[in-house]
């Protein structure tokens, strides 16, 4: 007894989805977190709240609106059709887009906190030492805020692995395309295949535990304190 081919496909799909989502989120989330950490604009509150919405919304609500937006008449759908790549629902990349929204707060908030706790002083010191903004980001901000980025990446990855409701709404249940581990477990249970469900479910428990263990023990900031 072990993983079936379908189980392995689901695991591989899940890892791919979470990996791509995490990379995209680090790229997209960093400027958002940077802006939220440093702006004194009126928009800080509203934008921050929008980014945090997935924390409180039922995944089905988020999935429902993303489905509409990505559908043929939605804004994202119109855009993707204009690009000539059709519509995103029930595709892998549809899941990626949905996961980016869904896991956004888990990436933005740790980075935002790290940048906020950094304060102005290191940035000012770098500027007086002739470092331009990009230079400062890579030579001072990134090394000093590394624990924040580390936490962001791990939480973003783990949270994407754990999503279920959004996947069902956006991706459905297509083997090899949108059937991720959480959906596969659901299928096993529906089919009363409890042994198979155990294998996957226990793997998820162990994975999640290891991720959090890594977060709490390896993170340099956590260790220093």
């Amino acid at each position: 007894m072990g993983f079936s081919d379908a189980d392995l496909a689901a695991i591989w799909l899940t890892l791919r989805l979470a990996g791509i989502t995490t990379v995209l989120l680090l790229i997209i989330g960093t400027p958002i977190a940077w802006w939220l950490a440093r702006t004194r604009s009126f928009w800080k509150g509203p934008i921050g709240a929008v980014v945090a919405l997935p924390l409180v919304l039922p995944p089905t609500v988020l999935g429902f609106y993303l489905l509409l937006a990505m559908g043929p008449n939605g804004a994202i759908g119109q855009f993707t059709q204009w690009l000539g790549i059709g519509t995103l629902p029930f595709t892998f990349w549809g899941l990626v887009v949905a996961s980016v929204f869904y896991s956004m707060p888990f990436v933005v908030q740790p980075i935002q906190n790290a940048v906020e706790s950094l304060g102005e002083r290191p940035l000012e010191a770098a500027a007086t030492l002739r470092a331009g903004p990009w230079d400062t980001f890579f030579s001072v901000v990134l090394p000093l805020a590394r624990p924040g980025f580390f936490t962001a990446a791990i939480l973003g990855f783990a949270h994407t692995v754990g999503e279920f409701g959004v996947v069902l709404m956006i991706g459905g249940n297509i083997p090899g395309v949108t059937r991720v581990v959480s959906v596969q477990i659901y299928d096993h249970v529906e089919a009363l295949e409890y042994a198979e469900a155990h294998w996957l479910a226990a793997t998820m428990v162990i994975f999640s535990f290891l991720v959090l263990l890594a977060l709490y023990t390896l993170n340099p900031a956590a260790r220093r304190k």
């Binding site: 002083r121 290191p122 000012e124 010191a125 770098a126 500027a127 007086t128 002739r130 470092a131 000093l144």
Partner: protein, 362 residues
Amino acid sequence: MTMSNDILARFNLHWPGFALGVDLTLPGRGVTALFGHSGSGKTTLLRCVAGLERAPGGYLAVGGDVWQDGSHFLPTYRRPLGYVFQEASLFPHLSARRNLEYGMKRVRGAMGRTALEHAVDLLGIGALLDRRPDQLSGGERQRVAIARALVLQPRLLLMDEPLAALDFKRKQEILPYLERLHDELEIPVLYVTHSPDEVAHLADHLVLMENGSARAAGPLSELMTRLDLPLARAEAAESIIETVVAGHDDNYNLSYLDFRGGRFAVGRLQRKIGKPARVRIHARDVSIALKEHRDSSIVNIIAAQVQELAPLNDWQMVVRLGLGPEATVPLLARITRRSADLLELIPGKQVFAQVKSVVLAD
């Protein structure tokens, strides 16, 4: 008379509860202290000069180069300056050496290594280079931070209360290095402080900041002795006089310090003849006599002219004397109102200043 080396700074800022409005011409050489209470705007002025604070509509030119005017604003990282913050603000993830090299790598020019060695030498941090900032004491961190600014070979050095965060012992540890800087640096230094002591040791020029504007600006010895300014009226009011070591008396263990206006005798200095020496004289240590009393234990008696008198409180006066042939060297004396009346002191009167104590200030 504006020399091309001068620093022209004009800034207007309006924040809730605070406004900065200055229009200054600062000398292109020596240490200019921006002196005032907290909230007087001295740090904000310094940050405007550095470009860390944007003052729209401001104007700043350093040595003939415009760093900011109505139409353009050179960002901080393009300004050839060095900045020392109140707390050392070394990068915690880099060793002292890497901190020094951080700026050096980003400045064009081949002088880097020499400048680095010179700065390391000047601040005495050779033994600390491989340590990380959290392995350095507060005073050591600040010395590394000063060296880090010097390595850039800046055209202007800005220091924001570099000693304020240190305790008395650490201050005494750094002060000699700052004095060396003062003697050896060719570039202008703007030095923010609220400590009269640091001003007396380090400054050549003074900008007196009050409520966001410059109440007065000029040479240190002049501003410290102007009776319309608070410095001359403070309990610790003092005069600063630049002298040159003229000779030593090995018999009595005295040194003679000459200045335009006379000669002081002080306890033996470990300093060669011809070297400069800055002395400070407390107003309360100066008394006034109409005759040159040689039957007194006071060693330093100098001919002087009364220039101005002002009441200090209901029983004391502060008197500005001028020493030297043209009475150009100012010296403060604090006396009782009764003595002023008895001696009939009026501006222009020739008197003798009896100086009880002359203290070396560098």
